[in-house]
Structure formats: structure tokens, C-alpha cells
Amino acid sequence: MSNLTASSWARTVSPEILGLTTLEEEPVVVRAVDPDAFLRLENAVPLTGSMGGSEFALAGENLALRFGLATGDTVTVAGAYAPRLAFLRITGTFRTESAANDELLVDFGMGRFLTGIGPLNYHSIRVRTSDPAALVRFLDGFQASVHVTGPGLVRMDIHSDPPSDERLANAILRTGLGGAPRDYLATAVGEATTSVRVVAYGIAVLLGILVAFGVHAVQARSFADRISTVGILRAVGASNGWMRRRLLIETMPFSLLAGFTGGILGFFAGRFLQPEVNLVVFGHQVPISLDVVTFALILSVIVAISIGSAFVLLRGTLRLRPTESIRETIAVEPPRSLEAILRG
């Protein structure tokens, strides 16, 4: 880079790192740039905010319009090929006539963090020069393996074969070849749990299982006292269907109330504890928020778990012999000594 910048024939040198991410589930290109060089190269017009600094996030005009972004807003972006999350504060907006108008520009530190690209590596270095031949000579003398193309240039491949694959992803985003260090984290996550969504659903399922265990344990304890009642009802002629309906009618309001109370208490307890204490599961922070859809979902899951648990308990009781269920104690073997069993 320093050799290029120092060359007299290079008017503008713009090293760049490209990353793909999403904002509000829409694909967005994040580009790590030197803002001076990049904006000059793109003939960009600053609109709001400042265009530099050690840490920045500049939104193209079209991107800002698309997502309703303004200077000072904070956006959350995920790593391009690495499982990383970052919060970016929009420090300015700009306008260009190129595709960059729909991109988010960030500093190199953030770009490397999001893409996993190591120091001194870039996806591309764009050079504006009035002497393309000097650039070709420089590349040749530098023993660089590059493909050269651009206005006023005959396409050529210096110290390399012509590219076999023209796809953008292969040309600029591949890692492990061409000197860019392979990122173990990116490789592994790509193969395993790439998306934050997978982790989020995983956490939700895990918590759901824990809640189901808890609900079932509490209901089992409570239901244990009513096994004899079930036996008596069966003895006086209650059908299994009637008892299921009865149980459903009894369980539903209580589970609704319990789910509602638990959800509200959990929300307030979480708000009380934050920001000093956060719940982090699988390395991801679980946010505390009260939105209607999530709350309704939690409520319905708890009701479903409660009803399912109640039916499981009732089914177990219906399998007992009526005399056994009417008795105060279930017919169990008296506990024996392990030593006695093993001695025979």
C-alpha cells in the first residue's frame, strides 16, 4: 500500500474491504474504506455529519432512505463471514452516482472485525492514475499476481493465469487463497451455526425445555394429591373424555394466569437487573423486551406446555388400576438394601 501511495503516477489509492451483512433482514454491502480516498474516487458529495475520524460509519443516501437512517442513529450489523455482531453509530451520509450510494462505509478496524480479514490485507485496491502503463509496470516489478482491467487498459493477467471463475464472490470474497488468512471461526461457523437466528432459536428451544421441565414438575406434584379423585370419578362412571375436558377447563385459566404473571415478573426482573447484569447464553446476550407478539407467543407456549403436561399426567393415572388410584398410596415395592440385593 505504501509503495502504491508513494508512486507519483497514482493520483488516488483506495484500499477496500468488502463485506455482506443484513439490516432489517435486507442485504447490505458494508465497505471498509479510507474515506478521503474513497469519496474522492467516487466523486461523492457529503450530505450530513462528518466524513472521517478514526471510527466512522457513513451511509449512502439511498441506503439511508431505504432504512430511514440519519446521522446519530445506531444500527446493528452481523459479521460477513464470521459470527460477529457490531453496533454502528451513523456519523454521516453521502451521495454518489455509483452503487456506493446504497452502501455503508466503515473504518478498517470495523471492516476487519466484521469480515475476519487480517491486517495488511484488502479485498481490492482501486487506483486512479493518468498513466496506466506505469501501474502495470509497477505490478509487474512488484511480482504481484493480479488481473488488471479498467478504462484505457487492455485486460491482462500479470504473473497469473486468466481467472477461471468470474463470480464476484470468488474474485473478492474468498479466503484461504491469495494470501488472505483463513479464519477458523468463519470456516467453522459457516459449517455449524452460522446465523444468529439459529442460535436464537436454539436458546429459545432450550429455555422452552427447561420451562417444560419446571411446569411438569410442579403439576406432577400438585396432581399427585388428586390421583385418588380421578379414581373415584372413574368409579362413579366418568369417562376418560369427560375427565380430559374437565382437566382442560381447570388447567387453561391457571396456566394463562401463571404465564401472564411469570412473563410480566420476568420482564420487570430483567429490567431491574439490566444493565448491570445480562443473561448470556451460548455466548449471546438475551435481550429483555416486552413486545406483544413475543409475549403472546410465550403465553401460548406456557399454556400448551401446561395442557400437554396435564394430559400426560392424566394418561398415567388412567393407566392405573382403579383400586390402585383410589388408595392413598400407590402400590410400590418397599425399598430394599442395595447390599442385600448384591449379596443375593
Binding site: 459470527p83 477458523y184 471461526l185 443473561l279 400407590i330 410400590v332 430394599r336 448384591l342
Partner: protein, 542 residues
Amino acid sequence: MRTDGAVVAALLCIALAARLVPLTFSPLPFSIDGFALARISTDMAAHGVWRIDPADVNSYNQKLPGFSLLWAAAAQVGGISPLLHVQLLLPMITCFTVLPAYLLGARATGRRLGGFAAGLFVALFGSFLLLTSAAAKESIGLLVFPVAVLLFHERKDPRKRALAVLLLLFLPFLHSLTTFLTLGMVAALVVLTQRRALTRGRFSWRAFALDVVTGPALALGAWAYYVSVDLPFLSDILAPEALVLFLAVVVLLTALMAPMVRPVPRRMGRRLVSPATKVILPPVVGFVLLAGNAATNLFVGAGRTESAFFLVVPSIVLFAAFAVGGFQLVRRTVNRTSDLVVAMFVAPVALILFGFFRGLDPGGLLLVYRAFDFLDYALAILIAVAFVAGWRTIGPSRPSRAGLVAGFLVALLATTPMAWNTPAVFGVQNVTTSEEFRALALLGSLGARNMTTDQRLADVARMWFGYSANADLPRKLRDNESLAGADYAVVLERWATVGAQVHPSPNIVLAAGVLAAFLAANRVVYTAGPPGNRILVVQVLT
């Protein structure tokens, strides 16, 4: 009593023989950590003081001086080398792990056969064998902690309680993880005892306070010491987020554990042991995770399950079946060790769950695999119970009984590759050969200021020789990066075949051409070992 002595002596001989096997690979410590401990012991012996130097590469081990202090004293009294003799003498101590296992097994089953089965399991089970063969703090911890837990379990005798307290006070200076888990087990014992007292209406605040003060409350002393010396990794658990998660796991397990003070009622006509049991779920989940980790990195950034590990799996499945059967027998009967088994399970399981939930990264993997072997004594008890039950079930037929013992022994021996062939089973090499050690020693005479090599040799170079060593050579060679800053490199030819170790990440296998080009471009100043497995010291010119 004489029979007991004879059985224990036989178990000791078997355990010692198994733990001396690593000497056939190398006389040097059978773990990288051993070099740090030997260096600290050597310095202690030379200067006559224990010092913590925060700038020292061995400062972490200096903060846990129990092993080094004892080893320095032993080396001075015996006139032996802390480095060269540790791998010979340590197995003579760690083979005594069979003693608590024998006691636990015999106590649980009421038969010597149970003690023998538990002792044999601890003597030969590969994973436990690996840890108790290695020169590491944990290897002594695995000997001390069951004694402390057993003494605390029998704390009605004030002498045993006092001894337990003494050991619990010593443990923080030996190994932080052992301390943490032992205190967890002790806390679980307190919960079970007090829960039982509540059920029987015999709860006493005084007894509870005494239990807490002489048990879990000793964690405060350990915590104060670790904070005062700024022990690394402590913040991993004490950070607010981690602590909340850990407390959640502890609360959950405490709630699940509390009802275990009573045996599970068994309905009339049901068998004591049945394959259709919920207990089978944890091992099944464990095997699924291991298999899943072979296909993809479960712990992102760490290595996968090696294919050779699956050769050991049939034996582990057999022992898991024994353990599941034993657990059902223990839980459905009245016995003297149920509390011990539950307590010895709960603490490691809590840490394993915490390791999983905290983050699927190398740190999580570290917690999970380090905690696993603290389950081995509880497993030994359960396996012993199932073994004795099996022995009784097959009747007096001698061939059948001989078959059972032979099968048990063969299954145990089949797990020993976990200890003796770690590169194939875990993808991690623990052995440092004499040739490698000499190659590293040569660097000193060459006046090397900065050297570079793989993670294993760089650790040895830093920990024992005190070199400024980088472990990034394999990565830089693979990525064709500059080696600026390094004046010498130690290269192993086998990096091109089995790969260079960069634990906990997977090995980096270099293309043979890359290695050849590096050697051609720089000056090879020393070569040792047979072709194909040579060790090369290279002066970096480019």
C-alpha cells in the same frame, strides 16, 4: 483385612504399570504443563523461596504453588531432578487413586468385588489414565478431591471433618478447578443432608451452620486468595453475566437434586433395572454431541472429534450401560453411597452445563472436557454396582464369571488409546521427545532471541527455557506471511503429514512444498530424528 490389602496392592501395581507407559515415549513430562511446574520447582529449590512474578510466563502456575512446593521439597530431599524424574515419580503417587476408588466401590456394594471393579476402572480407564499419568496439578487434584469428599461425607466424626477442612484449605493452592468442583460436591452433600434432616424433622441451624462453615464457606478463602493474586480465568466465572448463568445452573440442579435424598419408589412388579429409563438420556445426548462434533465444529474454533476416537466408543458405550444400570440400582434402593454419587455428579455436571451454555467456543470446550474426569469416581461407583449385580446375576458359573471379568478388562484396555495415543484420539500431542528438547536447548547456545515454532514446542520453549517464543509459525507458513522478528525456527517434518499443533484449534497440515520452500530459503543449522519425522532448527534469513 489382609484380603483387602492384597486386592489394593494388586490394583496399585496395575495402576502404576499403566501410568509408567508414557516413559516409553519420553522421559520428559507427559504434558506441556509439566515443564512449567518443573521449572517453578527448580527455581524454588535453587532460590529457596516461592515467588509470584506477574511478568513470568509461568506466573499462572506460580499462583497455584501446591504441586511445585511439594515437588521442590521432594526433589531436594531425594536429590532428584525436578524435570527428569517427575514422570517417573508422579505415577507412584497418582496410582494411589485406586485407593479411594476401592473404598467407594467396596462401600457402595458391601463387597470387595465392587471395590476391585471400581479400582480397576480408575486404574485403566483411558481418560482418567491420561490425566493421572501427566505431570499436572490436576493429577494430584484427582487424588486429593475424593479423599476430601469422602471425609466430609463422614463428618459426624470430628476428626474426619477436621481432615476434610485441612484438605479443602490446601486445594486452592493446588488447582483452582479441583477446588471449585470439590467445594461444589461438598455443597451438594450439605444440601442433601439438610434436606433429609428437614424431611425427618431433625433440622438444626447449628448443624447447618457448622456444615456450611467447614464446607462450602471455605470457598471464600479460596476466592480471597485468587483475587489477591489475580488468578487468570477467575473473571470468566465471576463476571456478572457468567455468574448469573452459573447461578441459574446451580439453582436448577439444586432443585433437581434435593428430592434425591429418598430412593425412587418402584411400583409393584417392576424390575430394578430397565433399559427404558430417563437416565439413558445424558449418555445418549453425549454420544450425539460427540458424533455431531465429528461432522462439524460444535465448539467453534476448536478441533473436531477425531475419527480414531470412535474406535474407543464401543467400550465407552459399554461403561455407559454399566453406569446407567448402576444408577438405577443406586437410586431405587437404600444404600450408603447414594448421597456421595449424587454429589460427585452434580458439581461436574453443573460446570459442564455452564461450559455449554456460556458459549460454544474453545473456553466452553475447556470447561467441559476438564470437568468430565471429575465424574470418574462417581462412574466408578456405579459401574462397580452394576458389575457386582451382573456377577450375581450370571450365577456361580466360572466360565461366565471369567468372561465378565475378561470383558470388563478388555473394554478398559480398549480405552487406553485415550491416554497413550492422544494425537490420534484427541488430535493433541502431549509427548515432548528428548530430540525435540535437545533441539530447543540448542537454541540457547546459538544465542536465539526470538524463536518461532508450533504451539506445543513454543510452550515448552517459554515455560522451561524462558525463550521468547511465538507459536504462529505453522499459520504463517501456510498463509505465506513474513517471519519478521523471529531469528530461529524449530520445524517438524511431520507438520506436512499429521499437521502442526495449534491447540485448541485443529492441527495445521502444511503442503510438503511449503515446508521444502521454507527450508530451502533459510539456513538449517541442526537436524535430528529419522527421515520423515525430522526436527530441524532453522536460522531465519528472509
